[in-house]
Symmetry: D2
Subunit: 131 residues, 4 copies
Amino acid sequence: MNERETGPGERGVPTELTLEGLRQRLVDFAAARRWEPYHTPKNLAAALSVEAGELLEIFQWLTPEQAAAVMSDPERAHRVRDEVADVLAYLVQFCTAVGVDPLEALAAKIERNEHRFPVPGGAADVNPDAG
Amino acid sequence: MNERETGPGERGVPTELTLEGLRQRLVDFAAARRWEPYHTPKNLAAALSVEAGELLEIFQWLTPEQAAAVMSDPERAHRVRDEVADVLAYLVQFCTAVGVDPLEALAAKIERNEHRFPVPGGAADVNPDAG
Amino acid sequence: MNERETGPGERGVPTELTLEGLRQRLVDFAAARRWEPYHTPKNLAAALSVEAGELLEIFQWLTPEQAAAVMSDPERAHRVRDEVADVLAYLVQFCTAVGVDPLEALAAKIERNEHRFPVPGGAADVNPDAG
Amino acid sequence: MNERETGPGERGVPTELTLEGLRQRLVDFAAARRWEPYHTPKNLAAALSVEAGELLEIFQWLTPEQAAAVMSDPERAHRVRDEVADVLAYLVQFCTAVGVDPLEALAAKIERNEHRFPVPGGAADVNPDAG
């Protein structure tokens, strides 16, 4: 991506690629189209779940081996990037609607998980569900 | 990860809060616990979908009004932050597993949507599904 | 599958519409197309979740009022029936793969819930989550 | 609900186990607890998706081999039956709320799929997604 394409295309000023920068673009995007009334916390949580399902759909019939090679198929690779973007967009918009900073939330969760799942001697036996 | 980047709470050195910084902490976290074998693209896509469902669960019986006030209930507010963190964690780990930059994917999607959904004169009638 | 069980619309012999009758048609359908290798418990649980997301997608931007009237829109009504069918199909196929009778499972759950949620004097305050 | 339909375990009168019989018990269960106001189509579609996610959660970190043996672990087997029941309960309640007969919907979908996916000579290559 060269500088002309780096950002929203306004005045040729490149945007640094940060979550906050993209969040602001999503806010502007929705405002320009008057979509805010639809962007309630409940609707956005539903939309996030729907898009996560669409990402999973790509993998549902794949063997572990096929799934590991998913990005070597250009059509599947495009779908993966597209669904990743949708999930992230709705997550960011949900966070905006409820006033949560997703990076702070994740940092706090990692802290909690570091206490909840101490590094074991025999880590291989540990339940991997860090949720 | 060098010591300066090890994260908040350790040695009192604050880490700048970026998605890339958190991504690296998640990579280290999983590696220290030997969880990488579980972190296949298919498993992570499933886990992401499961966590998005857990976020939605908070809202499933709430009226739009109750949902809008979700953060004024401390227990619900904690659950919201916790599930946001889980969704973001699995999204970032999924992206690591398939080699996708989520910020680039989202920037590209916003570009596409700006063409797909031009700002209309009467935007209020437009279907809000930007997916 | 003998002729009497062949299904509605074929030779004019009606089939009694039961979950077990439909289950058998789904088994035969998959076998005729050699899809059984794909129909592992894990894949079918993923597919079920994906289809439940597609059903939810119909409702994600609707107000409660619009959602209540969903069947008065012929196109949406068709989508609703189609996604209901997909959810039920994958649920039944999942149950076949793991050897669970879904009707027995539901009957047992209702029994448990009747003890877990006794009919209260002031039922309106009770948490509605019977899951 | 008359005594003959009261359900297994009550007064020793067995109920024939049918989807319609269970549907009626779910209707009575919700009515006795005054939960109908929560049981809107949108809420029930969300709840169905959430429960499908909980079923998937059981499998998310399992290898295909572990997943195939899921019912040999009594605790996992109980969770599977429990989540199957929740998915079916919310599907049936959703169908009641929108006035759809799930068995008719599935029968019609199988008819459509029989035309959409004719039995091929070399069926093994066919995309298994009958959704």
